[in-house]
């Protein structure tokens, strides 16, 4: 009996201690982070060691260098993977506890944070030490009402990667026109090879296909103007792009069960040569060039081509793409000056290291000739400099609410659950309700 009482007492004691510790945790943290001469910059990024090893290493190198050059400033890291990162950022901002420096996406993702006064404008950096260091159009994607709230780190375009070995086996060549493209699909299907790897569980992957079809059929601004309301989503070109998506589905162009596959699964099908083509952003270039974990033979067998013209329409040099993540500085940061300094330092170092070490195409201007790069990088960089237009990813352009409608509709149109005109109508309604 007495023993029982003792145990209960112990439990209560432990529980109470937990409560006390839990409540006081935040205070003690704040005290330590600003006390004395060391200033701590809290930095949150989305490249965990496991899935983005090279990115992770570069970040650590940059931080180490920064801390060495700036006595008394410490950078405290928190690393999360993509989706978790997005969620955590939102929760932190709700409770006003954003990290001093973190990563954000452009346009639609950024808007609520800017409207809620959470991010600091970084124009002074752009006017001074970072003047003219970004590729035209990249930093602008982070501008709202004339102020820039994020500094981009990457620039990507989506292209169709293809397996040259499979193509050669069936006497196929990279297509220039949609008819040639369709011929490739039928030939591959006749020979029992899945033509295109697509992981449409993630939805933005299917959106790339739709965006390219819209771009080729209706020209470079038809989608953008529908989104910014200078046009309409019920434009015939946008409807027929949706029709074309369904034609591709009917042709069995995509791997079986694509609506239930994650992009990672689709990628692994392409990389294990179970599918011949794969439309993805140039962020995947390392897998096809430098990544030592991928067999050399496979890397050598991969090429890419631009999305073909459709029925003679469209511009081969118009791309879907845009800047990826960018750095922001929190408006409420206690160490704003140091944070800005860190951001500017980071962007510069990143531009130099990312392309050679991680195979990332940075948003900062690059002297391609002075670097020793795999041929495919040189080709993609050439595509970038020849690009007549880069349409920003639709789900980034749209506000989060409309993007959610768009992404669901993408799954529905690929799954043939909606007709093309309903598809357009749903978009139009969502956009009009804004």
């Amino acid at each position: 009996m007495r023993k029982k009482k003792a145990i209960t007492l112990l439990f209560t004691l432990v529980a109470t201690i937990f409560v006390i510790v839990g409540c006081s945790g935040t205070d003690s943290e704040n005290v330590s982070s600003n006390s004395g001469d060391t200033k701590t910059i809290k930095f949150m990024h989305l490249w965990p060691e496991g899935s983005s090893k090279t990115h992770h290493t570069i970040v650590n190198e940059i931080i180490a260098n920064f801390e060495k050059e700036n006595e008394g400033v410490k950078v405290e890291l928190e690393v999360l993977s993509n989706e978790q990162y997005k969620d955590k950022l939102k929760v932190l901002s709700t409770s006003n506890e954003l990290p001093d420096v973190g990563m954000t996406w452009a346009a639609g993702f950024l808007t609520p944070y800017v409207e809620g006064n959470k991010f600091a404008p970084l124009d002074d950096l752009l006017e001074n030490e970072l003047n003219d260091s970004f590729v035209a159009g990249t930093a602008e994607a982070y501008a709202i009402d004339g102020k820039t709230y994020g500094l981009p780190l990457e620039l990507n375009i989506a292209t169709i990667f293809y397996n040259k070995a499979i193509f050669a086996e069936y006497g196929l060549e990279a297509p220039k026109t949609y008819d040639e493209f369709k011929h490739i699909i039928t030939t591959l299907n006749d020979n029992g090879v899945a033509p295109i790897a697509l992981g449409n569980k993630d939805r933005w992957t299917g959106s790339l296909w739709y965006m390219y079809l819209a771009d080729r059929i209706g020209g470079t601004d038809v989608l953008t103007s529908a989104i910014n309301r200078s046009g309409t989503f019920e434009d015939p070109a946008l409807v027929s792009a949706a029709e074309e998506v369904q034609n591709l589905v009917d042709m069995n162009a995509f791997v079986k069960g694509f609506n239930g596959l994650a992009d990672e699964e689709a990628k692994s099908m392409f990389m294990s040569e179970q599918a011949a083509m794969y439309l993805i952003g140039s962020w995947d270039l390392p897998n096809f060039t430098t990544n030592e974990e991928v067999p050399q033979e496979f890397r050598d067998s991969i090429g890419f081509f631009n999305f073909p013209t459709v029925d003679g329409k469209g511009d081969l040099n118009s791309h879907v793409g845009g800047p990826g993540v960018g750095l922001f500085v929190s408006e409420d940061s206690d160490v704003k000056e140091e944070a800005k300094k860190f951001v500017s330092y980071f962007v510069k170092e990143w531009g130099e290291k990312s392309v050679t070490q991680a195979g990332v195409i940075p948003a900062t201007k690059l002297d391609a000739d002075s670097l020793e790069l795999p041929q495919m990088y040189v080709d993609v960089l050439n595509e970038l400099s020849n690009a007549t237009n880069i349409t920003l990813f639709a789900d980034v352009q749209m506000s989060p609410q409309v993007a959610e409608v768009h992404l669901n509709m993408i799954q529905a149109i690929f799954g043939k659950e909606v007709a093309p005109d309903e598809f357009a109508k749903e978009h139009e309604n969502a956009l009009a309700a804004e």
Partner: protein, 288 residues
Amino acid sequence: MSNKWLIALFVLPALLLTAILIFIPLALSGYYGLMDWDGIGAMKFIGLENYMNALQDGKFWDSAWHSFLLAIFSTLSLLLYLVIALILSSKIKGADLLRKIYLIPMLLSSVAIAQLWIKIYNPTNGMLNQILMAIGVEHPPAWLADTALVLYAIFVPILWQYAGFYILIYYAALKNIPESIIEAARIDGASPVQIALKIKLPLIMSVVKVTIVLAVVGSLKYFDLIYVMTGGGPNGASEVMASYMYKLAFSSNNFGYGSAIGFVLLIITLVVTFIVRKLTATKEEIQY
């Protein structure tokens, strides 16, 4: 007198914790439901608009229907677990080992289970379709991509995940029945089936009721496997109430509406729990 103080003292930490972690957030989310709020900027009071919208939101009711289907299936599956527990408790060989095997899914984290079943369901390389093709099914379905199948395909791992938990509860309850009662029944000539149905089952009825409530409530607020395996897709075919709420709040940046949905979810769960308890209530406990 001092006894009462002591009780209060002992109850206090737990009470504080529940209040801080559960009741206050509950009230807050009900309150946020009255707001037009993107979760980041300023809130705007809009009265009951979010709640009215929720009642007319076809997608919400679709997801509610999916949650109810899950509740029905998990309640029905309790029967199976009960049968397994009855067999295990009747001193068959290897019962101990089997009980441990059934418990394994419960020890795995939901994400690990989801990853495992994603691989099993993979339309081309998955174990399930490989087996189906080996036995001659020419076009096995793409389980997680087929809007007609996806919900049921996810139910399987969900039920599997909790099987061990319920079997364990039933098993423990059955072990608690005094051996003498069962021996007496056996001497009176009762068959094993009769013993199970007429003696054991009535004696553990109170436990069965608890598990029904647990299964129903657990299903209505279910989230994890669905989030990881399909994210509610394709196009909402596997959306449940909790995943829909999550999507609204976090993907669509509509915290006000998401909170309203969350509050409606709470009310639905409370009402259903109340109904289930009423339906399963008996006047008195059976005692032998």
